[in-house]
Symmetry: C2
């Protein structure tokens, strides 16, 4: 198991791919660029969904569902958005198959069943949703409209990686409508906060909140607020984005409302989303050469108990004790698995749960029965200790919290030591090339410099951080004056 | 609201369509045959999902996710299944749009971006899942494999109706793999039971469990177990199906396993699903001329409280009392909405919640404050009564149960009085034409008679009921001998 995993410092990318498959999270499918999310990977997604959904509802949002398909004429209505996604659209052109007259038992597309208008498989749903909102919004009384959708989307990708970049992925997309610009901006910023809270408190993944530069902005947005995380290999990961869409979609779909004063105005919009990509971020924030490391709050199995026994009688005696422990842990809301399979030896089980990132492993053998102890191992530090059964339940509950905090603090330390201020382009290149992480550098604010820097270093502006002190300086590339540092990095 | 609804006995179909839209459950979209599920309708689906998902997990199933697209060569591998769905498949043929040179600002399909192999948008996922299972199953140790997927599917429909028949719909599809025929049959029957329990205990919708005739069976199945419900207009609704697939998909995708004895054998399969169609069944089982009627266990809002007041001071005093009630009800796990909007009069609110089927409405006015009472109205019987505030919480909790039971019992009475035994084809036609409901009739077991009966009466065999006493008789159509009655009905 863990032994056969490529080491991170040998080949980080290979390590990642192997880990995803060996930990039973996901695999490539028969469809180019699409993945199969296996039960263990999906269970993590379910945990993420449950927390996010709760947070969305607590901030006043409701779920709904809109069609998978977008008629081409609607898709192209908001031109920038259409242009941004046109090159990666799966397009449905026919609605029927028929027997292939040349190949018995095989099918072909029925040429008679060509659609009058092609249907785009949604790469994002602004177009179909705003064409619907037109019917829902007449007056200021209909606003704000705060809706979220859990859905699959398709963006045709040439180079794919499990979770990080797949042609089909699962996500949620919030689409809200507001009576004023300031309210829409507040909403977009609120959802950036929600995402940051989720990433830090549940994923134990520290993020930097900021705003995207013009060239990195969502197609069709006025502003894109982002949360950016740092992976162990020094590359950044855009983990969630929240867009202030201005009145662009309202204008494209003619969605106006009557104000309190009786005027007709275009509606203000936001959209925001996170996807199964987060699972990739989770993996690359915490895992190690032995396999996956999961923060307890998102671990499908928080504790596994492995009995160490010879023969059925010993197993029987151990199981009696263990069943009591199981019950106590479960009554505390802790998810526990008891692995009493007789087809695997304890060592193999240990390796399996290490690979799968179960936060706490409890082993119990004959001597533990005699001594009223158990052996508790934590996945984050790989440390073991012997614990009295009398204090086990509280110990485990506290240890889960400690692991959650420890993972966050470790990731935060790593992230903080990988934000490097540079003041020359030489330094910039050196850090990007050799140390990695975020580079905090002055930038003149032009797309030209940004583009050149990307060409020369592959680093992009990840964000202009929200928390930023003004500081006079000179653009590392052009030397022109600048008032603040922005964060560059190579990114997934 | 309710007043403007077409009455059921005037035009049931029109009543249904109006109700779905006016109660804010769903609406037609810009995409032919696809619906938008609005927040209130989606909230019902979420409640259904939560219960079903719990029941699936309690019976040992795990969720996973498989690709939306099925390459044509996989889709056609199981020939009967492929033939059954070929005529209703949306097909992706291209993966890119480009600017239309003839129409500035518009897009067209990029002819250069034609897929080598077309992708079918899944109408059901047996093909993609069994092509995946080939990699997951080697030995009897890998079995059973008990997996469920929550997903959207597309079946191109020419005539669509909101929830009941839409080109895209949401559903769950279970796909299990087993080492023996008997185990697979048990699984398929178990899931039929799970569906029946869900329908009766949560939807308050009585169902008949049975097996489909050859011609009504799922394409690619050996046997289809079904639950059949009866709608208020006397038409049946197939509410859920569970299929024993034999080794058909294992053979089509070459999925074999090594038995304990070391032999190679094909794997046995089941699949089973229910969809957003259930919401249509829920509506047509309980609702009335005033609008939707929801069973408390699936109602997004179980109780609504409407204050009846003049001026802010009265509202303040009422709200003080009501906030205490809200808290008590919520602490009992009851979902309550307090509607203190000042833009609508109480009468308009009453009509709105009647239309939306909220099980219990509580009204509280000045006199109630004086008398320590509230007015409680139940949606099922439309009866009101004055209740002391001292006993309100328990009263509401019990009333919710009573409403749930009452809805089930009413539906059961209706269903039971609409199963009619007939012994001649004249009687058969008469009942189908005039009374509706299920007709229990002898049938000779041939597809020929079944087909002719359908042609002449539009009634189909809904199922051969599980609970059936053997009884000698003669087929109502052919006069040939028969050993049991089967259930016919017109169906949605």
């Amino acid at each position: 198991m863990g032994k056969n995993l490529t080491k991170r410092d040998e080949d980080y990318s290979k390590w990642y791919n192997e880990l995803v498959v060996k930990a039973d999270l996901a695999e490539n499918s028969a469809v180019r660029g699409c993945m199969v999310i296996k039960p263990y990977g999906y269970a993590i997604w379910e945990k993420m969904q449950a927390e996010l959904d709760r947070m969305f509802k607590e901030t006043g949002h409701q779920n709904a569902y809109f069609p998978l398909f977008v008629p081409k004429s609607l898709f192209e209505a908001e031109e920038k958005n259409a242009e941004g996604f046109a090159k990666e659209c799966a397009v449905v052109t026919h609605y029927r198959l028929q027997n292939d007259p040349d190949r018995p038992g095989k099918l072909r597309v029925d040429p008679e069943a060509k659609l009058e208008e092609e249907l785009v498989v949604r790469p994002t749903s602004e177009a179909i949703i705003w064409s619907t909102y037109k019917g829902w919004i007449q007056s200021y009384r209909d606003l704000p409209l705060l809706i979220n959708q859990w859905a699959n989307v398709v963006r045709w990708e040439m180079r794919t990686r499990l979770f990080l970049r797949t042609s089909e992925f699962l996500w949620q997309e919030g689409h809200t409508a507001h009576a004023s610009k300031s309210e829409a901006i507040s909403e977009a910023r609120q959802m950036q906060e929600v995402y940051a809270t989720f990433a830090e408190e549940f994923m134990a993944m520290p993020v930097i909140k900021g705003v995207k530069s013009d060239s990195e902005r969502f197609a069709g947005a006025e502003d894109t607020y982002t949360i950016e995380a740092l992976m162990q290999d020094g590359k950044a990961l855009q983990a969630g984005t929240s867009h202030f869409l201005g009145q662009n979609f309202a204008q494209a779909f003619d969605v106006k409302f009557t104000t309190k004063e009786g005027k007709q105005e275009y509606v203000w919009a936001t959209s925001w989303g996170v996807s199964t990509r987060l699972i990739g971020g989770l993996i690359m924030t915490h895992s190690d050469d032995f396999g996956l490391v999961l923060p307890p709050k998102l671990a499908p199995i928080q504790v596994v108990i492995v009995p160490i026994y010879k023969g059925e009688e010993e197993l029987f005696l151990l199981s009696e004790k263990i069943n009591v422990i199981l019950k106590s842990l479960r009554s505390k809301g802790i998810s526990v698995k008891y692995d009493d399979r007789d087809t695997l030896r304890p060592g193999a089980k240990f390796a399996e749960y290490e690979l799968k990132g179960v936060p706490i492993r409890i082993a119990m053998g004959n001597r533990d029965l005699e001594n009223n102890t158990v052996e508790v191992s934590r996945r984050d530090t790989l440390k073991k200790q012997s614990i009295s059964q009398d204090i086990l339940i509280d110990f485990v509950a506290e240890l889960l919290e400690e692991i959650q905090n420890n993972l966050f603090n470790n990731a935060l330390d790593f992230r903080n030591t990988h934000i490097t201020e540079v003041n020359s382009f030489e330094e910039f290149k050196n850090i990007i090339e050799n140390k990695g992480g975020f580079v905090a550098a002055h930038w003149d604010g032009t797309s030209e410099s940004e583009e050149k820097i990307k060409e020369l270093t592959k680093a992009t502006i990840r964000c202009i951080p929200n928390e930023l002190k003004e500081e006079a300086g000179n653009c590392v590339f052009s030397g022109k004056t600048s008032t603040k540092r922005v964060l560059f990095a190579k990114a997934y």
